[in-house]
């Protein structure tokens, strides 16, 4: 078969991308009408986790900061929402905003000391966050309901919508997820995103080019925490119960697994990662209830063996077999969706994309482009340069 050649940003490329996105949106909209309520609930959970995985991917994938403590920010969002529903008579949208703001501020405060740590030390310290979350929640019993947690009524579908409650919840989550994904995409595609990847790929070079690494690191930590908080807020709405046992380190570990399985430094990968951590344990328990966890662990390891770039890495490899993507000859200009670009190709492909961006981002680019290497690149911040 002859390989198809497309020009990045050309009409054909744009059309294919547009059609893909439209098909995906149509499928997402139709899902709750096709499946039984039990399945719809699972898909809703996947959407919630997708936001959380995306939040972690901003930090780990784009900025190279490993966090094993994102369950903490998730819990902050979840409890903020639960307390508001219990104690205050609030309108529907407000909890999301408050959950975002609270988690954002906490994330910012934690991010300030955290940015002094690199790579594996940050991962180890953030484990502390995950570990103390349940005992802290139990300790402040007056506010959090102790080990019993807080029950709230999950929202019911309004009569005008003609939807069942599970479908209504699904659509709420879909809308919130869409908003968060768009925000995250815009974040990483702009100058901010460039400074993030610059710091990840070569901190020294980024510094030389005028990026103060502290700025993108704390900023990303705060945004990441904020988005995790939004996911937590949705979790409360969907499940209707928050209790310390739901926010253990297992959640934090699962979020990191989802990030890597979906594909580091990809936006769309978060959906696949969330689907993985949402569905695969259920399926492996279905194969053998006693051995489900063992099989799940083995699947995680196998995926790292065969597709270290995650689902999006695999997708990119398949696309590489079918299509040749060319840069337009007249001007190097990025286009399409951020979802389909490799981490490695980011800086080069986006060299011209930030002409409207900030001065800072423009100057970071040569530094990262120099460091750019062909092929899969899922490095973390502590990679050795040769």
């Amino acid at each position: 078969m002859k390989k198809l050649t497309l020009t990045r940003g050309g009409t054909a490329h744009r059309t294919i991308m547009l059609v893909t996105v439209l098909v995906l949106v149509a499928v997402a909209l139709y899902l709750p009408h096709y499946y039984a309520p039990y399945r719809v609930f699972q898909f809703t959970e996947v959407l919630v986790f997708a936001i959380a995985v995306l939040s972690l991917n901003l930090l780990t994938g784009y900025t190279g900061q490993i966090s094993l403590g994102h369950s903490f920010f998730f819990a902050i969002g979840a409890y903020t929402t639960a307390v508001m529903f219990r104690d205050l008579d609030v309108a529907f949208v407000i909890p999301f905003v408050v959950a975002f703001v609270v988690a954002f501020v906490v994330g910012f405060l934690i991010g300030i000391p955290a940015l002094r740590l690199s790579g594996v030390y940050l991962a180890l310290v953030t484990i502390a966050l995950a570990v103390i979350t349940p005992p802290l929640l139990t300790r402040f019993e007056g506010l959090t309901g102790g080990s019993q947690g807080i029950n709230i009524d999950t929202p019911t579908a309004p009569a005008w919508s003609g939807l069942a409650d599970d479908q209504w919840l699904y659509y709420i989550c879909l809308v919130v997820a869409a908003v968060v994904f768009l925000l995250a995409r815009n974040l990483v595609r702009g100058g901010v995103g460039l400074s993030m990847t610059a710091v990840r790929d070569n901190e020294l070079a980024a510094r030389t080019m005028g990026v103060n690494p502290a700025v993108p690191k704390t900023r990303t930590f705060a945004y990441s925490a904020g988005f995790a908080g939004v996911a937590g807020a949705l979790y409360t709405l969907v499940v209707g119960l928050v209790a310390p046992g739901s926010f253990t380190i297992i959640l934090a570990i699962n979020l990191l697994v989802g990030t890597v399985v979906g594909g580091m430094a990809t936006i769309a990968g978060a959906v696949f990662g969330a689907a993985f951590i949402g569905f695969v344990p259920v399926y492996t328990s279905g194969i053998n209830p006693a051995l489900g966890g063992v099989i799940y662990g083995a699947v995680v390891i196998l995926i790292m063996f065969v597709m270290p770039g995650g689902v999006m890495g695999l997708a990119r490899r398949i696309r590489g077999w079918l299509v040749t993507l060319e840069e337009p000859a007249d001007r190097r200009r990025a286009s399409g969706t951020g979802q389909t670009e490799t981490a490695g190709s980011l800086p080069a492909a986006r060299a011209g994309a930030v002409d409207g961006g900030t001065e800072q981002s423009g100057t970071t680019d040569p530094g990262t482009a120099q460091d750019d290497r062909p092929g899969e690149q899922t490095t973390t911040g502590d990679r050795r340069e040769n």
Binding site: G119, V257, M264, M304
Partner: protein, 293 residues
Amino acid sequence: MSLLIQQVIGGIAIGSIYASLALAIVLIHRSTGVVNIAQGEMAMFSTYVAWQLTAWGWPIWGAILAAVGLSLLGGMLIERVAIRPVEGASHLTVLIVTIGLLLIFNQAAGWIWSFLVKDFPSPFPGGVWALGQVRLSASTIGVLVVLLASMGLLYLLFQYTKVGLAMRAVATNPESAKLVGIRVGRILMLGWGLAAALGALSGVMVAPQLFLTPNLMFSVLIYAIAAAALGGLDSPGGAVIGGLVVGVSENLAATYIDFIGSDLKVLVPFVIIIAVLMVKPTGLFGQREVARA
């Protein structure tokens, strides 16, 4: 005052257990650059093996030695089967593989031995000595002696044997080590084996004090990680000191600071390490990684 001394002694005893698991973490991190999140679960699994042998009528010391030996082989096998294929991949990839190992060992132990609590026999006699008002149990001393002796042996291995020299060479520079004829793969396997054996020892030492369940080592792992980070991830001596500091400070804080109590005492070592890492981002004895850009 006697309460203080009592708590310090208890802290040293539990701290030596953290220290040995921390040392296992450091051994692997030095040679592969990865923190083995599954270290605690591997140790728990080894402890179950020892328990199973005693349940079959083995004497306790025989069971412990056999379990440590099997762990050595098991650790080497794990390196060969699970870690070698992702050698050279990003650290995060390897980290995820160790997370997979954690899940496998935790669930496999529950599947084989059930999640019910088991009693692990103490390998030490039950005597207690009283020095004034301070009570010193034989098992506290026994734990200390066994763990310090094992760490001493490791030190001798590293400092004075050819294998130890090769292991240090691989940790310092794998490529140069390969060029002088060291079989890097085997050395890495041995490193994982030694770490697993050391972890097994910490598991059988802590199991009589807690109870044997598949989640036995999780909290120990958290403290061991704190200890390793405190001492510096590439410093074996730092891991030992870090373990003792973590053990003592945790005990003292739980006794003297009312707010902390027993459920929040896990906070203590992390407050310490965050404070330390603010000043020295690579731990007390760690070396700053110098890389050419």
